[in-house]
């Protein structure tokens, strides 16, 4: 029955009109809330629109040109801060989450408890996470100041505030990557390890010659999540430093410029386009690198 049905181009019993009717709301929603804003944003970026449609003029690439000059020199440093934050996060996150995955994956009793607790921050909101960590980073009453006598302004430190935000984000997100790494580890056939053991391979060699190469799909996924997540990050900045102390990222900059009306909305739209190109370029470069690496292996 199913075989015959597959050969027919259209389904003999199902009226395609019903099927199309079913898909319609989703297509409408996606078009309205994804495609339309993206297109409208592009149009606005060529205008001096500022909240009122009447009197709005097309100004060509004006917003794109003034991007480099007008906006009180805040935007370009914000791009730089975003890159710094991404660098602070991406590699340490992989090391910590892979390390945790290796520990949890040893098959000890109670592994599930550890896994569940390490993953727990993923179900806590950003406000809860950042507010709790503000207590830990309290320069006077926090445990770091009281127990370890670390004399620092922490989230108020001009040079290292971004590092402390990265610490919070690492705490909050390593459990997620860890679970992906655990799934990756469990996909590696046991035989490989047995063969390596019989051949007398050291644990170190086993890790670098078997585990790591075979984990490549998981590594790719985790790197992708880490890079795309850190490039757009805005909420932690908003909740910890409010963009002060050299922590203004581009994601949060765009947010404040729209919500606070600090620049024209045409200008914000153009900044969003630059941001999109920036993220796309990095993600394409990442894909290219991962593909080339995989043909070498």
């Amino acid at each position: 029955m199913a075989g015959i049905l597959k050969k027919l181009k259209t389904h003999p019993v199902v009226n395609p009109a019903w099927a199309i009717l079913g898909v319609l709301p989703a297509v409408l929603a996606v078009t309205l809330f994804s495609l339309f804003p993206a297109a409208l944003n592009l149009v606005i970026s060529f205008t001096d629109y500022n909240g009122v449609a009447a009197g709005t003029k097309f100004i060509g690439f004006g917003n794109y040109a003034s991007f480099f000059t007008v906006i009180n020199n805040q935007v370009l440093p914000a791009f730089w801060t975003t890159i710094k934050y991404s660098l602070l996060m991406v590699v340490p996150l992989q090391i910590i989450s892979l390390g945790a995955a290796l520990l949890v994956n040893k098959g000890l009793k109670g592994s599930n408890l550890f896994r569940a607790v390490f993953f727990m921050p993923s179900i806590l909101g950003a406000v809860v996470i950042c507010a709790s960590w503000k207590l830990i980073f309290d320069p006077l009453d926090g445990p770091l100041a009281r127990y370890f006598h670390i004399d620092s302004a922490f989230l108020g430190d001009e040079r290292f505030a971004l590092v402390y935000i990265a610490v919070i984000a690492l705490w909050a997100s390593f459990g997620y990557s860890m679970v992906i790494y655990i799934a990756g580890l469990q996909n590696i056939p046991r035989d490989y390890y047995e063969a390596a053991m019989i051949d007398g391979a050291s644990p170190r060699a086993t890790f670098f010659r078997i585990t790591l190469p075979l984990l490549k799909p998981a590594v790719t996924i985790c790197l992708w999540i880490a890079i795309s997540g850190t490039l757009g990050m805005a909420d932690y900045i908003m909740l910890t430093t409010g963009g002060g102390h050299n922590t203004m990222t581009i994601g949060y900059y765009i947010f404040t410029s729209v919500i606070g009306n600090t620049v024209s909305q045409g200008q914000s739209a153009a900044t969003a386009i630059y941001f999109f190109l920036f993220v796309t370029a990095i993600m394409l470069a990442f894909n290219f690198l991962m593909k080339r690496r995989s043909t070498e292996l």
Partner: protein, 279 residues
């Protein structure tokens, strides 16, 4: 020799447990810290912020209940989330079934389009214009319900699409030949079979909505309709110095999710990660 390896193994396990427990404490510490501080009076917090609280005093929680309007905000969170869940689930189920079964010509292209839309650049400026000048809901709860209800639609369709592939086709053909209506089939026969994945997706969406403080902050301007997470964010500004009260507020908002997580952690973990793994 076997004694040697046994001792070695025990030593290894002790070291492993020590490392795992250290990380465990590090993960729990922030939660325990706020819980502890939330039980202190302001005086107690000022004198010794880190010592163990002298007793179970819930005065701070009473203050939070009143001043953060916990009941009203919890209700707002619940009904907006429920509305968004229904919208989200119905739209994605209705789309995933015809797409997965390729019940009309060009369904492959429609599926690709819906997935590709994930990569369209989001725009806060344009979304606010859309909600305000075209849909006339900006600033009120329907705006939030629309944003939550249509958010993550792509991921849902993707997950359901793959799950439906694993359901037997013969079942729907038999039902259709017997004259079962198309939508009746989706909701009364296919959906019960998809309950595991549908509930997982709803669970994830609920957690996402509960924790989302930005969308309600941006799209709902009416102070009577703030959600708990947004309320918590605004409360931070109001009670900036009274950390004992604020800690109680944090714990009030976090506790329901922690409780939910304790009972559903297996589904939550596999659900949250499987989207990434399949993509």
């Amino acid at each position: 020799m076997s004694v040697m390896t046994r001792n070695k193994r025990i030593a290894r396990n002790v070291a492993l447990y020590a490392a795992l427990t250290a990380v465990l404490l590090f993960m729990l510490y922030p939660i325990l810290l706020i819980l502890n501080i939330s039980l202190k009076t302001y005086q107690e917090y000022l004198v010794s912020p880190l010592s163990v609280a002298r007793g179970l005093r819930f005065d701070n929680y009473k203050l939070v209940w009143r001043d953060m309007k916990v009941l009203s905000r919890a209700l707002t969170t619940l009904w907006t989330t429920a509305a968004a869940l229904i919208l989200n689930t119905v739209i994605s189920l209705l789309a995933a079934f015809p797409l997965s079964r390729a019940h009309f010509k060009g369904s492959g292209k429609v599926y690709l389009y819906s997935l590709a839309s994930m990569f369209f650049p989001g725009s806060l400026v344009a979304t606010i214009i859309l909600l305000r000048d075209a849909l006339f809901v900006y600033g009120s709860p329907p705006a939030l319900i629309l944003m939550w209800g249509t958010g993550s639609l792509q991921l849902n369709i993707f997950m359901l699409y793959n799950f439906i592939k694993s359901l037997p086709r013969d079942l729907d053909d038999a039902a259709f030949i017997d004259g079962c209506g198309y939508f009746r089939y989706i909701f009364t026969i296919a959906m019960p079979l998809m309950l595991p994945i549908v509930t997982t997706l709803m669970l994830l969406k609920t957690i996402g909505c509960w924790n989302d403080f930005l969308s309600p902050y941006i799209y709902v301007l009416d102070p009577d309709f703030r959600t708990l997470s947004t309320g918590l964010y605004l409360f931070m500004g109001e009670r900036a110095t009274e950390w004992n009260v604020y800690a109680a507020a944090i714990f009030t908002v976090a506790a329901p999710m922690i409780a939910l997580y304790i009972f559903t952690q297996r589904f939550v973990i596999s659900g949250m990660v499987s989207g990434a793994l399949k993509g």
